[in-house]
Structures are given as structure tokens and as C-alpha cells.
Symmetry: C2
């Protein structure tokens, strides 16, 4: 795509670095900004620069938070004997919106992925192990995506905590509620048979 | 969507002002930037601020251009007797990529749209009429989208130039090449019958 202006080309190039934004979409977004008042561009760039400079994470669970300790960790009504391990804050939001979990979280900040150059030390794993050692945690729930990277990360963490005598579990993997069986992939369907659950339990959810 | 940080909320709000970017996508984009080195955010915001501050338009056709006169207007091999009227530079790019047009352009910067508060004076229409009066234009081709706003804009411009004795045309509207007839909308199909073209001409394109 050849553009008639170097300035425009640079703006489009930078915009298209964002995930899911191709050159065409980037051009549409930049042209949109050019049609709007200057103040809109300034507010956007200022908000992005500010959060990048001043971003803070909860000292306990590493969720993004303006306070030292986030609202969830600070909530005395939550069960502080359970920690749910997630990849990023979007997973916290997704689980919170189910209203099915009242324990705490630990945000890793990613998954172990050698392909992308992300190793255990790039994630908040050491802090998690320390947190488990130093508090009265009874159960750790792994809620990473059921991918190769997710499973690798689960296993890496599990090895470090298996001697601490706490219960470890993963969120159930199986056929999504409301989905047609014939469209399920073979791995999921196969595992859902192997890991079948007592009928009475399935009625509860 | 409730977020755990005001800073994050502001960045997501600003990002979701962009067209086609909802709150969820905006959150994904901001979280992505937070995971990348600071330099990426700085390059993006700097590029956006720079283009917004320093954007220049061709003095003749109003396409975005770093020079006073753009490459197309400056090209002596192009037919300067024809002007194709388009909404924005993406339309110039789309028509250029067909290699079917060798005339000049005039970029209006939008369409007349009372709903969005865009009137004739917000567009480069006066400059177009002046340009036609002052040069040896023989044909004006309207290439706006075939919508109510596009048709209104075409008509508004046409009224101002109809006495100048130049030829005015619109790009052909009809069934897209390769499309199944049964899926065409009724208005397009109806017009394509009324405005049918001699068979020999259809063979050429």
C-alpha cells in the first residue's frame, strides 16, 4: 500500500503494530483522527502515554490497580484460602462476571512461550510460589487457556508447589454449555468422555 | 465493563472512540501496549501527534500530501481535462489501483450529511467549483458512494457547475463483476436493467 505522505505512512505503520489492526484498518483509523478535532488525538495519546508511564500493579495479585493492593485482594468477604491463576486481567474480568468464584486471583502476565521468548522469569511465578508459602492457601486453581503454552505453564508452577501440600485443580475442560456435540473438536470430546462427571453434579451447574 | 484502574479506564475510553473499536477491543489493544516496551507506545503517540499537527493537503486536489502539490496533480502524463470527485484518499487509492483512470482527482473530505452535522461548507466544494472555472476541465466524474449522502453531494455540486458547459458523469452502478444475480439487491438490479449498456461495450471491460 503506497501512501501519498510520509507522515501518514509512519502513523499507519505504528497503528498497524497493534494486534488485529492491518494496514487498511490502520489507515481508516488515522484518517478518522485527522477528520476529528485535534483535542481527540491529544486525549488519546495523552491517555496512552500516561498509563504506560504510571501503570501500577497490585502488590499481591499483580492485577492492574491504581492502589497498592487491589479491590479484590482487599475485600475481606472473599475467600483468601483459594487462588485462581490467570494469564491477564481480562481473565479476571471474565471469571468475575460469572459470579461463580469468591476466592482471590494471581495474574501471571502471560504464559510460558519459548516461541515468543517468554520464559518463567518473565512472569509473576516466583511471587506466586512465595505467596503460597507465606499464607494459608488451601487450593490453587489453574485457569489458563487450554493450549500447549497454558499446559506448560500450569505444569511448571505445579512442580514447584506440589510438595507444599495444597490442593491443585484446573478449570473443567469439556463441551461448552449449549454447543452441539457434532461440532466439538475430537480432543475436547475425547477428554470430556474420559473425565466424565457424576450425573448428579452436572445437574447443579 | 468495570475496570480495576482509572488510568486504564481512561485509555480504554479514548481508544474506543475510534470507529469499529469497541470497549473489549480497546482493552485488548491497551493491554497489548502495556506488555510491549515503552518505546512502542511513544512511537505510536508521537506519530499520531505529528501527523495531526503537521498534516498537509495538496493545494489543488486536497489529497493528503507532504508537498504543496501532490504527485498526481504534478504528473504531466496525466489527463488534466478530467477530474474525479471522491470522498477521501482511500477512494483515490482504490481507483489508482485499478489503473483504469489517468485523469486528476478532487478530494472532498466527506459527504454532505446533515445527520452528522456536515454541510457543504465543511467540504472542499467551493475550491472544486473555482478549480473548474479557472482551468480547462472538460469532464467531471462523480465517484462518491451510491448512498443518500453521496447522491445529495453529487447533486449539490452538479447544480453549481451545470451552466459551465462541462460534461458530468457518475461511475457506473450495477451488478458487481463476478456476483450472482440472485443476491443483488432490488434497487441495484432494477437500475442495472433501466441503465443497460450496449452489448459490444460490455465486452470491452
Amino acid at each position: 500500500m503506497e501512501l501519498s505522505s510520509k507522515l501518514l505512512e509512519r502513523a499507519v505503520d505504528e497503528m498497524s503494530q497493534l494486534p488485529g489492526i492491518g494496514k487498511r484498518t490502520a489507515l481508516r483509523l488515522v484518517l478518522h483522527l485527522l477528520r476529528q478535532p485535534k483535542s481527540q488525538t491529544y486525549r488519546l495519546t495523552e491517555a496512552l502515554t500516561t498509563i504506560k508511564d504510571q501503570i501500577k500493579f497490585c502488590n499481591t495479585c499483580f492485577n492492574i490497580s491504581d492502589a497498592e493492593i487491589c479491590n479484590i485482594c482487599n475485600n475481606v468477604h472473599r475467600n483468601d484460602k483459594m487462588i485462581c491463576v490467570v494469564e491477564d486481567m481480562r481473565d479476571v474480568m471474565a471469571i468475575e462476571s460469572t459470579s461463580s468464584y469468591r476466592g482471590l486471583y494471581h495474574v501471571l502476565g502471560g504464559k510460558i512461550s519459548p516461541m515468543d521468548g517468554i520464559g518463567p522469569n518473565d512472569l509473576n511465578i516466583e511471587a506466586l510460589v512465595l505467596r503460597i508459602r507465606e499464607s494459608q492457601i488451601e487450593e490453587l486453581i489453574f485457569a489458563l487457556s487450554p493450549t500447549m503454552e497454558g499446559d506448560t505453564t500450569n505444569f511448571y508452577i505445579f512442580k514447584q508447589i506440589q510438595d507444599l501440600g495444597i490442593k491443585a485443580s484446573t478449570i473443567a475442560r469439556g463441551i461448552a454449555v449449549g454447543n452441539e456435540l457434532e461440532y466439538a473438536d475430537e480432543v475436547t470430546l475425547g477428554r470430556s468422555i474420559v473425565n466424565r462427571i457424576p450425573f448428579e453434579i452436572s445437574l447443579k451447574s
